[in-house]
Amino acid sequence: MRTFISDTLHLLVRHLRTTLRIPIWIVVTLVQPVIWLTLYGQLFRRVVELPGFGDTTYIEFLTPGVVIMTALFGSAWSGMGLIEDLNEGVMDRMLATPAHRGALIAARVLHAAVTVLVQSLIILLFGLVLGASLPGGIGAFLAILGIAALLGAGFSAFSNGVALLTRREETLIAVINFFGMPLTFLSTAFMAATLMPSWIGVIAKVNPVNWGVNAARDAMAGTNWGGVGVNMALLAGFVLLTSFFASQAFKVYRRAA
């Protein structure tokens, strides 16, 4: 266990350092929420006049949705770095050391969670600047960050698992594109649940992205903490499931060598 934690942390430092060395990543991370929130916020501003949204501004409705959407896309590409490591021989070099096997994947999942945390923080702050209110207070703020990090960890593990099974960037891109947008639109990220077609509502119930959006929105309102707890528990289950998938994929990868 001690080697697992220490290896994970050392590898995490490597991943974070790499990320911070890509200036374009930092720029996009800062600019993207601005674009999402202003663009969608303006375009759909009057949607909240429909019955079913309650008395909220659209920016307040949208902010948790954009936090979760960014968490999804920020983490779903996590497997790309792993594929680079496979192709460059970095993974082989590490597998020939006594390094803890689980740490090699855990560090990537943790890295995704940390970057999602930073991105969510920026979006939340910008949302507040644009006029969203946060009745849930500081507790809500921290809860939303936690929810985004959980979602990010779950999708990162999924992405790394797919990367280990396919070992091709093209395949991973196809898989992530296939899941990414539908999962976003099969959730309440942009539209209130009561206004969804019923079949979308049914699918949304088993969609981790929807759990994240609902949890973040409830936390923001600060009224339904029980619902926040349930959805966070579901997300924790999702993280366990995808982590199990990733570790099995890693075993398959090592056995095929």
Partner: protein, 332 residues
């Protein structure tokens, strides 16, 4: 004491490719041992099995007294593995790469900074230590690779094609480095190469590996001694076997091998023998299209021990060696 014992090792990939069919050899502690063979002969696969990266399909191997299958963790602690496909993190600096490697190799924390510093100095990368590896030249990157394999002072170091892809100057500089390792550190080195010259320069003993099998094991000078003289390759218009038997009767010819449209004759002095060889063939009514004269090369060693050239089948075998992105860069 034996540092590496390989006993009838074989490896069949899931797609049915026999990468290694029967490899056995023994490496004594402190020796530099070369696995010599063309691309696709099974060298990298053998090393990957000895580095616990690939599970053997049959046979057994012990490294530093530990079994690669039943005690993989024990083997990993005692080996340094420098793959052909570098394996350094291009987005990190030399120092960061070495430091992370030291952590993963369980070097005691208090020793890491000091050891990384002295290794960087030892490979002449002190000034470039804090630059991204992306900016390194091929030779610098290779020296960093090797330093990373040494950071935990392993008992056995694997070098898979250490000089492939390097220019001749860098290659001979690296040879000097490897000789220095041998002098300064007590360790056993297993290196793979497809350069006879490299095996000759660096290795105490070599095993020649062809199509997944060890065909001969020995001291390089002995192997070369058996391939004395020059090789004359005669490209003829058909009837090669008839031509070969004509040449076999000639006194100055040491060995004759048929190879497709060509007859390869080994003779003591190529320049003087060529006219006689051509005359003999033409007298038998066999026209000669082209003649090539060469000093003994790996090709000839191969030809001698396997009866075929490695260039052609080496290329063919390259295509089905291992799953696409796993082969550790055999064709880089």
């Amino acid at each position: 004491m034996n540092a590496i014992v390989v006993d009838h090792l074989c490896k069949t990939y899931r797609n049915g490719v026999d990468a290694v069919t029967d490899v056995s050899f023994t490496v004594s502690a402190g020796e530099i041992f070369g696995l010599l063979g063309p691309n696709g002969a099974g060298k990298s696969t053998t090393v990957r099995m000895l580095a616990t990266l690939s599970v053997p399909s049959g046979g057994s191997a012990q490294v530093a007294g530990r079994d690669v299958e039943s005690d993989a963790a024990g083997v990993r602690r005692r080996i340094g593995y420098v793959a052909q496909a570098s394996g350094v993190d291009r987005h990190g600096t030399g120092r960061e790469n070495l430091t992370l490697q030291a952590h993963l190799e369980r070097v005691p924390k208090r020793d890491i900074a000091g050891r990384v510093g002295s290794l960087l100095e030892w490979i002449g990368l002190t000034e470039a230590a804090d630059r991204l590896v992306n900016t390194y030249s091929g030779g610098m990157k290779r020296r960093l690779d090797i330093a990373m394999g040494l950071v935990h002072e392993p008992e056995v170091l694997y070098l898979d094609e250490p000089t492939t892809g390097l220019d001749p100057e860098t290659r001979s500089a690296l040879w000097a480095d490897l000789k220095r390792i041998r002098q300064e550190r007590k360790l056993t080195v297993l290196l793979t190469t497809h350069y006879l010259e490299e095996a000759d320069q660096l290795c105490d003993r070599v095993a020649i590996i062809d199509r997944g099998r060890v065909v001969i094991e020995g001291v390089p000078s002995d192997l070369k001694a058996k391939i004395e003289g020059d090789s004359v390759t005669l490209n003829v218009e058909g009837r090669t076997s008839e031509g070969a038997s004509v040449l076999r009767t000639m006194e100055e010819v040491l060995e004759v091998i048929e190879d497709g449209d060509s007859i390869v004759a080994r003779v003591a002095h190529g320049a003087t023998a060529v006219p006689a060889l051509i005359t003999a063939l033409e007298r038998a009514g066999i026209g000669v299209n082209a003649v090539t004269l060469s000093r003994p090369s790996l090709d000839d060693v191969y030809l001698h021990y396997t009866g075929h050239r490695f260039t052609s089948n080496g290329m063919a075998e390259q295509n089905h060696q291992a799953p696409a992105n796993r082969r550790g860069g055999d064709q880089r």
